[in-house]
């Protein structure tokens, strides 16, 4: 009778402990998880000479060295509001306790309680591209300067601001270009200081800048767009026993390889998009420079004739 009571009490205790662990791991985990995944971490364990110096946490549960994403050094899980456990063997684990500001952690590995680490460089989310939106810019001009002189002197810098790599900040001269184009037509009609041909070419150059800016905007909008990845969903397929650590490790390694593949594939397309724009930019720049050259030549020819 007594033994049955003890057994019932033990089972209840186990359930309560498991429920408490579930409750502790779930709600605050999101914040800690995001912090873990968003950057790399330094790792200092005085007990191990020549061990790893830094850590990177992956969303597939793999913990690797920041410099070598292919070698898994353990499997991490959030096991408390500020606590992360890294399993690195069937019955060995490192427990990391993060400070409230999430800038550093203290760790322990059994009796060794001298492990420390802190936040290092920020990481872009997997497959994300560094997208820099263009910033508004004006075209410099001096008071009393004719519009054709403004375009002759500033065209090179406007072109340089438009044909910029997708991961750098472009100068959005759109408003200034539209105003300049209309001012050029005004000047051509009312008080021309250069041949009509120069004004026509200058207007064409303004239109070409606007088209180039539109093209860059379109490419920037689709730059770094990645499709959602698939998940492997192991937990629905089989049961694991306590002794199945290595089987579990193999699953994590599979998931990690898949994540690395997805990441590399996304990176490949990001690089391809960057390269395509660079190639296209070179062509566009040639066209813009040719138009600029024509404007300058027309203005010079008029000046020489006078």
């Amino acid at each position: 009778m007594d033994s049955r009571r003890i057994r019932t009490a033990a089972v209840m205790f186990l359930w309560i402990a498991l429920a408490a662990r579930l409750a502790a791991a779930d709600p605050p985990a999101g914040d800690l998880e995001r912090t873990l995944l968003s950057c790399t971490w330094s790792f200092r364990n005085p007990a191990v000479k020549g061990g790893i110096k830094d850590l990177r946490f992956w969303s597939d549960s793999a913990a690797t060295s920041a410099g070598d994403a292919t070698t898994i050094i353990g499997i991490w899980h959030v096991t408390g509001p500020d606590e992360v456990t890294i399993l690195y063997g069937p019955s060995t684990a490192i427990m990391l306790t993060f400070h409230a500001d999430r800038e550093a952690f203290d760790g322990e590995d059994g009796a060794n309680k001298h492990i420390k680490g802190r936040r290092l460089e920020a990481l872009l989310p997997k497959g994300a591209a560094k997208k820099m939106q263009p910033v508004a810019a004006d075209i410099d001009s001096k008071p009393g300067q004719s519009q054709i002189d403004v375009i002759s002197s500033q065209a090179a810098s406007v072109t340089a601001g438009v044909i910029v790599p997708l991961d750098a900040t472009a100068q959005d001269h759109r408003a200034a270009i539209i105003t300049l184009r209309e001012n050029l037509v005004d000047e051509a009609v009312m008080r021309p200081v250069a041949p009509a041909e120069a004004y026509q070419t200058a207007t064409k150059l303004c239109d070409a800048w606007l088209v180039s800016l539109d093209e860059r905007d379109k490419r920037l909008a689709s730059y770094g767009q990645t499709r959602p990845t698939t998940i492997l969903g192991y937990s629905r397929k089989s049961n694991l026993q306590a002794s199945d650590y290595f089987r579990y490790l193999r699953e994590i390694a599979d998931a990690h390889r898949k994540e690395l593949d997805d990441w590399r594939q996304a990176q490949f397309f990001i690089d391809a998009q960057k390269k395509q724009w660079n190639d296209r930019g070179t062509l566009l720049k040639q066209g813009l420079d040719a138009l600029h050259y024509q404007v300058v030549e027309a203005v010079k020819a008029r000046a020489n004739a006078q």
């Binding site: 899980h77 408003a175 009312m190 909008a221 767009q225 192991y234 937990s235 629905r236 049961n239």
Partner: protein, 205 residues
Amino acid sequence: MTPPFFRLSTVLKLFLLTGSLAATVSLRAADAEAAKSQIDIFAEEGPKITTAVGAPLSVPVADYKAAITFMKDNLLDEAATKPVATQETYQVAAKLCAAWLSSLDERDKRLASLGQKGGPTTDMSSAKKTVLHDWRDELNYLRELDDERRKKERDQQTTDYFSDAAKKQWTDRCVEVRQYLNTLYSQFRQLRRQSLVHATAPATK
């Protein structure tokens, strides 16, 4: 002539209603009111408003709506009381104001649905397939946590994917919208130019 205190109160109201950037346009409009005609202010500010209207969805834009409405009404006032250009010029300017407002409405609609995602779903499949007994099942439990995290990440990727698609759709739409707005602005400048040429022609004769 509008009394100065009235202009100041209108500008202040606009500042409170629409934020500093939009109010700057009104402030400039009010400051320059005495010296410049509404047509001149419109010619100067037009391309800036077109650029702001066509900004990507991820770039925050001040609410220009009140400033545009204010500018449109001022143009109509000027057309009725002391026109400095032909009626057609004012009509095209008013049409451009209406086009800006409708583009801003379209932008607002798209912005409202940006980042929208379906309700969160809980993956209970693991609980249905496997039974956790005690600490011997710890690996099973950890594996369920892994799957849950990956599912969350996949859900986030899906949301990001659709947000990116919505942003791209707006960028594509902007190219068309901008062309239309620029055409209207060019028309306006052409008509203004004609008015200026007509105005200066008798003086030169």
